[in-house]
Symmetry: C2
Subunit: 232 residues, 2 copies
DNA sequence: TCAATAGTGTCTATTAGACAATATACT
DNA sequence: AGTATATTGTCTAATAGACACTATTGA
């Protein structure tokens, strides 16, 4: 019978990004500090084995893990890729399916996770850490994908709670890209892309009140016809 | 022990694309016609179980299957994504890792596969077939990714054997996109992108001889700053 | 010479970005 | 009024696409 092959371990890992304190952060967890477990005490991506009884699909599994860690039920969720080889897990040949999620900033950063073993960490700092398994490599891939897509898609909108204003959205772009953008060109681009719908005026602490917006489809991002121009 | 979970089946499937007879084709195989196997006699993507003894990694597994089917050893290979749920394989909870490969046209189409159970099929025709497992869904995703990327990357260059000329490359773009492109704009774009290197003059059957080119890095594609403009 | 294809030049419509000007909020 | 922010308008430089023109091959 063909299913008699020795089966690899199958896991799902989730890269959960949010904007906290003006910075892009990712939720990491500490590996349990027990001798039986691999990488004890090391920071890692939240994740774990697929439960063939509980999880109807890989995506379901990712959603479950996200909900367990953050309580968020309807994030923007995208598959990042899979990593599988004989070496990445000392317990044996294993394959992990990585998803990345963009959520709006949780009100109380640590409290949402319910546990002290989870923590929001700035992405650059996380990228410098030596994470468990091949998670550093996976994080690097996620950041590359995210920063790449921010250049030509509406992804950053998923990091804001609605309604948000265009200046707020621009600020998110600037934080993720690490460079300032022109106000006028930015507005034209966002409005022309047609993924926003007006949601009434909102007023901030100072100055003129601004139009609030929400995204029309929270599962789908808009694609711009060009990337943002790099200053000469 | 945490590894006592019931493990899903793990497979790898490969979407192998090539340009044959002026059309984009994909290599499909027939499922064995034995009663024990799922989807007997149905067309499917080439692939199979990960062999934890033979395969050092998922990518290795994909390369192995590609080589077994086509003899090609150095294709452009990119991970497409993974599909896993309780229903897709009647033998049990299974997860497949899909890779897509772009290869230059094999000299003798059928012969390379060595077997009559494999066949090059036009992508549109393949997309209309009811393939085994969820392979129709995977093929649809691959075509969407491929056609999407052709709009703003140098991917089609991997479908040609080197050296190739710019008119040949333009023709590949036109076949995959299904619409004509302007010669002058096309050349400017390709040459400015800087992924080509000159490789001596090549002469075709008629007309003026043309400059031959090769890609500088066969693992990496170039990204253009804009998509091709859609006619108004 | 012609036919066929490769490669270049010129023009124009479009538009992203720079930046100035105006509008609206709060104190 | 004055300050702070949002929004709109104008100008300009860059450039993709349209298309005509020139160049080079073989017959």
């Amino acid at each position: 019978m063909t299913t008699d092959f020795k089966r690899p371990l199958v896991t799902v890992d989730v890269l959960i990004f949010a904007l906290l304190d003006e910075a892009l952060k990712i939720l990491l967890v500490r590996r349990p500090d027990e001798p039986g477990d691999p990488f004890p005490g090391r920071w890692a991506l939240p994740g774990g084995f697929v439960d063939v009884a509980k999880d109807r699909s890989l995506q379901d599994c990712a959603v479950r893990k996200l909900r367990e860690k953050t309580g968020v039920r309807t994030p923007y969720l995208e598959q990042l890729g899979s990593w599988g080889d004989a070496e990445r897990d000392p317990r044996g040949w294993s394959a992990t399916h990585a998803y990345f999620a963009l959520i709006d900033a949780p009100q109380r950063a640590g409290a949402d996770t319910g546990a002290a073993d989870a923590q929001w960490i700035q992405v650059d700092e996380a990228a410098r850490k030596r994470l468990a398994f091949d998670h550093s490599q996976i994080l690097a891939a996620a950041l590359e994908r995210l920063r790449g897509k921010v250049e030509y898609t509406s992804l950053p909108a998923f990091l804001l709670s609605e309604p948000f204003t265009l200046p707020q959205l621009q600020h998110v772009y600037e934080v993720v890209l690490g460079r300032p953008l022109d106000k006028s060109a930015f507005r034209k681009r966002m409005l022309d892309a047609g993924f926003l719908q007006e949601a009434g005026m909102v007023d901030g602490p100072f100055g003129r009140t601004a139009m609030g917006y929400g995204v029309i489809d929270r599962q789908q991002f808009a694609v711009f016809p060009r990337t943002f121009k790099t200053k000469p």
